[in-house]
């Protein structure tokens, strides 16, 4: 039998459960104590991205911003400016208040004169009421999508698969959120899209393996717990090539977006990278073991009934 020589994911499930729970708890702790690093989409205020076309350094950026603060042009509080872009030629500053066009122009001009260059800008302004609404919508979206996916999987497979899948999927979504909380990465609308497509990809992976388990179940006579472990493990190994190859392909796509894509979708691509990796991981290491735990109960109850 194949399973004798191969690594048993099911038998070692507790290790992986522990790893996942640990990451989730650390994420939760960070979130409770430090909160998420929300972008303007969810927090209201104005976000300005300036591309100067010349290399910038932090000291000078701080100097410009302080100058604007002391001469009274700028009254809003703002978060630490982040410098990025291909040659450190892009700076992103988030303001707590909604800035008027006048103030935005003053900031742009200050950078233009200091660096004596033409400055291009991208400005996002979100009103507080709208920001709250967007956040609520995000929570609704995840909730509704999860329930519907659960219903579909229950109809097509069975409820145990649905429960195992949904736990693993919420785990993936949570891992992405946790990683962003731990590393203080900015959470904005594209991030939300990334979390939601993570759910999509993750369910893909789970369905491929579950489909194989379902197929193998039809030709198997499960007598002992060992049989069930072997069946689940074989199913994982039989779909391993597909799982690895698919995640490689989509990681290639997301990785290219992250490395070569424009500044504004870098964070989106990063969220996707984390989500895809977590999705592939949880499909192999978590979801099947969860299903096994649920199925084991029915096996033992059947045995009792027979006895």
């Amino acid at each position: 039998m194949l399973s004798k020589r191969q690594y048993s994911f099911v038998k070692n499930r507790n290790t992986f459960f522990a790893i996942s729970i640990l990451i989730c708890i650390v994420g939760l702790a960070v979130m409770l104590f430090a909160g998420m690093n929300f972008g303007v989409d969810f927090k209201a205020g104005t976000n300005i991205d300036l591309v100067v076309g010349k290399q910038m350094d932090k000291a000078k950026v701080d100097e410009i911003m302080n100058g604007l603060k002391t001469n009274g042009d700028l009254k809003s509080r703002f978060a630490e400016p982040t410098i990025g872009g291909t040659n450190s030629d892009r700076v992103s500053i988030r303001f707590d208040d909604v800035l008027t066009d006048d103030v935005i122009n003053k900031i742009q001009n200050a950078f233009a004169t200091t660096y004596s260059a033409t400055v291009s800008k991208e400005v996002n302004t979100v009103d507080p009421q709208l920001a709250k609404e967007l956040l609520m919508k995000a929570v609704y979206a995840v909730g509704i999508a999860s329930v519907l996916i659960c219903v579909y999987v229950s109809i097509r497979f069975e409820w145990r698969f649905a429960i195992a899948a949904i736990i693993a999927i919420l785990h993936d979504a949570w891992i992405v959120i946790a990683i962003f909380a731990i590393f203080r990465l900015e959470v904005n609308l594209p991030f939300l899209a990334a979390v939601l497509t993570t759910i999509g990809y993750s369910i893909n992976d789970k369905i491929v393996i579950f489909d194989r388990i379902r197929e193998n179940l039809r030709f198997s006579k499960l007598k002992t717990d060992e049989d069930l472990v072997a069946l689940v493990n074989d199913s994982i190994w039989q779909t391993m090539a597909r799982n690895v190859n698919t995640v490689l392909v989509v990681l290639l796509a997301a990785g290219c977006l992250f490395i070569f894509g424009s500044e504004s979708i870098k964070l989106f691509a990063l969220a996707k990278l984390v989500g895809l990796t977590s999705g592939a991981y949880s499909s192999i290491f978590i979801a099947c073991s969860l299903w096994y735990l649920l199925k084991r109960k029915s096996l033992s109850s059947k045995k009792k009934a027979a006895a």
């Binding site: 919508k137 996916i149 999987v153 609308l189 290639l252 424009s262």
Partner: protein
């Protein structure tokens, strides 16, 4: 024995499709409408309120306000302004490729609400009571001062108002600025009124503002996104390059790992992107940055369909089946998996579309489109092409599928 009919059919299909793609792509790419994040411009989300508190906000007036915004954008020479209403009290305006940003923005956000108010500030007549595009510059015959003439739709209504205000004053406001105030000495039975102005410049501006269409609602900006043209173009180039590099890497991976079927997958992936862009152009939809991201990720999903099928076929070959029966069994078994996976993703896409707003919606639309198109290209077309070459006996050896002879078990 080679079956030349099937083989030539295979090559004919590939050549014709590639020919079509080659011939139409440059034009297609040029024609795709780009969003403001890819070529500069701005997006504003307004919430609308009735001009006077307590007035109901109807779908009709909201649409009127949206039309008026579109007209303003048009008058400023903005190509294809996108103005849409959202929910019960929102209007979203997207203007891409705007050159004179400052001017456009100040005019867009200026509601230009023309009102006639009584001495206590009560609004008696508002924008909807005036004839559209009828304001004109003229001069007072006595004082030679510039004046703006406006026309009322309902002569009787004006008469009623002035009857009521006889002995009092009637003030004309543009937005919240007092333009002129006049004593009403007797009911005016006329359909025109005048606003006195201090100079010709001022008068011309007022005429323009009024003629742009009086805004029937008060609008407040809730969300603004502004992208400079140079930044947008840079985003487009970088992201397009990222997509190209990703495609090449995926092609290489597929061909090295899956050999001949990998080539078929690469071909169907090109077809997938082309069909997606063509449908996009046909729908006259706007391509945005999240849209490109969805396209690139959709390509990953499309290839996943190929991978699931090929892995299944390889498994069947390893189990000792002939290439043809492995294809049949593999296609059959993998189809259900692919459909289940795609339907769940479609569910996620639909939820995103209904719950999400602007940018997220663009993402959701491309996700849904790419799921449907990838089933056509990377499942059905890909399967049909493989059938042709396998039945044509061109692809008999397991090594064409990247399967080693040693791994094949006897049945």
């Amino acid at each position: 024995m080679l079956d030349w009919k099937r083989i030539s059919f295979f090559f004919l299909t590939v050549i014709v499709v590639l020919g079509c793609i080659g011939a139409t792509s440059p034009k297609l790419v040029e024609r795709i409408k780009l969003g403001l994040d890819l070529k500069g411009g701005f997006e504003i989300l307004y919430t609308a309120e009735p001009l006077t508190a307590g007035q109901p906000l109807t779908k009709e007036t909201l649409t009127q306000a949206a039309d008026s915004l579109a007209k303003r954008a048009d008058s400023l020479g903005v190509a294809e302004p996108e103005v849409s209403t959202e929910g019960t009290d929102r209007i979203r305006v997207r203007l891409a490729g705007v050159q004179n940003e400052e001017e456009v923005r100040s005019l867009m956000s200026k509601p230009a609400v023309l009102t006639f108010r009584g001495p206590d500030g009560t609004v008696y007549l508002n924008g909807t009571d005036f004839v559209e595009n009828a304001a004109k510059l003229s001069y007072d015959p006595n004082t030679k001062q510039p004046i703006v003439e406006i026309k009322l739709k309902d002569r009787q209504k004006f008469k009623d108002v002035t009857t009521k205000l006889t002995g009092s004053t009637l003030s004309i406001y543009l937005d919240d600025q007092l333009q002129s105030s006049a004593a009403v000495n007797y009911p005016i039975d006329s359909d025109s009124a005048i606003i006195s102005q201090t100079n010709v410049n001022e008068a011309t501006k007022t005429v323009k503002l009024i003629n742009l269409g009086a805004m029937p609602l008060k609008l407040t900006e809730k969300y603004i996104q502004r992208v400079d043209a140079t930044l947008g173009t840079a985003s487009l180039h970088q992201t397009a390059r990222a997509g190209l590099i990703a495609s090449i890497l995926i092609f290489l991976f597929m061909v090295i790992y899956y050999r001949v079927p990998g080539l078929v997958a690469a071909f169907t992936l090109i077809t997938y992107i082309w069909v997606l862009l063509a449908v996009f152009d046909f729908m006259n939809a706007t391509l945005t940055l999240p849209g490109i991201a969805a396209l690139v990720l959709g390509a990953g999903m499309a290839v996943d369909a190929n991978i699931i099928t090929y892995e299944r076929i390889r498994e069947e070959i390893r189990a000792g089946k002939s290439v043809l029966s492995a294809l049949k069994a593999g296609s059959k078994h993998s189809f259900r998996t692919i459909m289940d996976a795609n339907v769940t993703n479609l569910i996620a896409g639909i939820v995103l579309y209904y719950v999400g707003n602007g940018a997220i919606r663009g993402f959701a639309v491309i996700t849904m489109m790419s799921i449907i198109i990838s089933i056509l290209t990377n499942v059905i077309l890909s399967r049909w092409l493989l059938h042709l070459i396998i039945r044509g006996n061109l692809l008999k050896k397991p090594s064409y599928f990247g399967v080693k002879e040693a791994d094949i078990r006897a049945l």
